[in-house]
Amino acid sequence: MARRVVITASGFILPLGSTSGEVLAALEEPHGPFERWAGDRHVSVCPVAGFDLRSHVGRCKNARYLTRGQQLCLAAAVRAVAEGALGPQHLDRAGLFLGLGPNLQAVPREDKALWLLDCLPNTLAATLAETLGLHGENLTIMTACAGSTQALGQAFRTVAAGLADVALAGGGDSRLSLEGVRAYRQAGVLATDFVRPEEACRPFDRDRSGFAIGEGAAMFVLESLEHATARGAKVLAEVVGSSSSLDGGSLTGPDPAGTAAARAVRQCLEKLGTRDLCVLAHGTGTVLNDEAEAAVLSGTVPNARAVCAFKSRMGHLASACGAAELAVGLVCAEAGRFPAIANLENSAWPDLPLLRRPTALRPNNLLLQSFGFGGQNACLGLKEFKTRKDAA
C-alpha cells in the first residue's frame, strides 16, 4: 500500500517576501509589488528585491553556471532544509525533484571553458547535491509552467512508493532578463494595456490582457508520515494526489475545451473530494488561458469554497509558479486568511467562486493547478493534515 506523504517544511524567496510574516503583510495590500521593467516600460514585472545568493548559501563558485532563477531555487532549498531541521542523516538518501526553466541567456563563450554547464538542465541538481549532500532519487523537470508542480507530484509519488523517505521538491525561475522579457513579448502573452503596473495582471477579469512577469523560488520538504512522525517534525499539509496531462493541441495556447486539463484535475479530486476545497488556480490573466481554465473550473469544481489567483499578486513565475503558489497557499491556509484576486473588478465568470475580497478561510483541501505552454497540465492535491484518530 502506498505510504502517506506529508510536507514538513518550505523555503521560499518570492516577490512578496521570504518569510510567512512578510508574505502575509504583502497580501494585506490591495496590489502586489509590481513595477515597470526598466528595459521596456510597457512591461509589468514583479522582481525579488535585493536577492543576494551569498547571504543564503555563503561562497558558491558554481553560481557562475546557474541562472538567476536557479540561484533563487538554490537559496530556497537551503532555507527549506534549515526550516525542516534536516541533518546529513536525512539528506544522504533524500530525493531531489526540480521544476526549472531554460537558460535563455546561454550562448557559446570564448571566456568560459564550461559554458556547456550553462545549458545543461541538471547543473542546479548537481550543485544542490554538493551543497546539501543529497544523493537519492532525482529528476529535473522542464515542462514549462507546469514544471515545479510536476516536480512536487513526482516527489510525492517517489516517497509514497517507498523509494525515498525524504524528498526536496519545487522550483525556481526568473525571466527578468532582456532575453526572457523579449521572448514573452514576442509570444504576445504579456499584459501591455495598463496604466499602472500593479493593475496589469487581471486574472478572470473581463479587461484582462495578459500576464506580468514575476520571479522567485519555493522548495518543500516531503516526507513519509512515518519518517516525519518518528523525528517529531511539524506537518504543514498532507499530499494526497498528483496528476499531469497533455492537451495535444497548440504549442502555446490551451485547448479551449480544457479536456485533458480537466482530466488531470479530476484525477486529483478522486483523492481530494470537492468539499471544503480551495483552488489555487493557474490564473495567468491571458485571454485564452483564463477562458480554458474557467471551463475546467466550471466542469470540475463549480462549488469550491474559493478560487485564488496568486499571479495577480506576484506575477507569473514561469516554471516555478506552481511551487510558489503552493508556498503562498500554505501560508494563507495556516493564517486562515486568503487574499482577493487583485484587479478582479468585472468578473468574466460571475458564477465561479473567484475570491473577490479577503476571506477568513481554513480549507480542508487545496488543489494546485498549473497549465503551461505546450498544453502541459499538472495538478497537486493537498489536505489539511489529520492523524487517523482525528479523521475518525
Binding site: K61, A63, D111, K112, A113
Partner: protein
Amino acid sequence: MSNLENITSSITGILADILDLDQAQITPETYVVRDLRAESIDLLEIGVAMQHRLDMEVDDDTLFLKNMRQVLARAAKAGKAPEEAMAAEYPHLDRARIAEILADREAGPVIKVRDLAAYAADRAGEAED
C-alpha cells in the same frame, strides 16, 4: 604599476571571479589549490579566462605544472638534476622559485598565484620579442 603588478592584479581578479572569493584576500603568495581550493574544473576556467582577458595563448599543462611529477621522474631516471629538468620544462620559473617548489612539493600542490603571474609575464614578454 609594473607590468607584473598589472598581470598579478588581473589574475587575482580572475581567481576571485571564478572561485567566488574576495580579491583582496588573494596575494602572489597564495596557493591556488591548497589555499583557494581550486579544483580541476576551476583550473580549466582559470586557463581560459587568462587566455581571454590577457589575450595570450595558454598551455594548461605548463601553467599549472600539471606534469611536474613525470618531469621529475624522467629526470631521476636519466640521472639529471631536478632543478635542470624543471628549468627546461618551466622557463617562466626562476631558479629560486624552482628550489622553493622542490622543497615544498611533499606538502601538497605547489602552484601559487605568483607562478601564474610569472607564466603570463613570460608569455607577454615573448609576444613582444
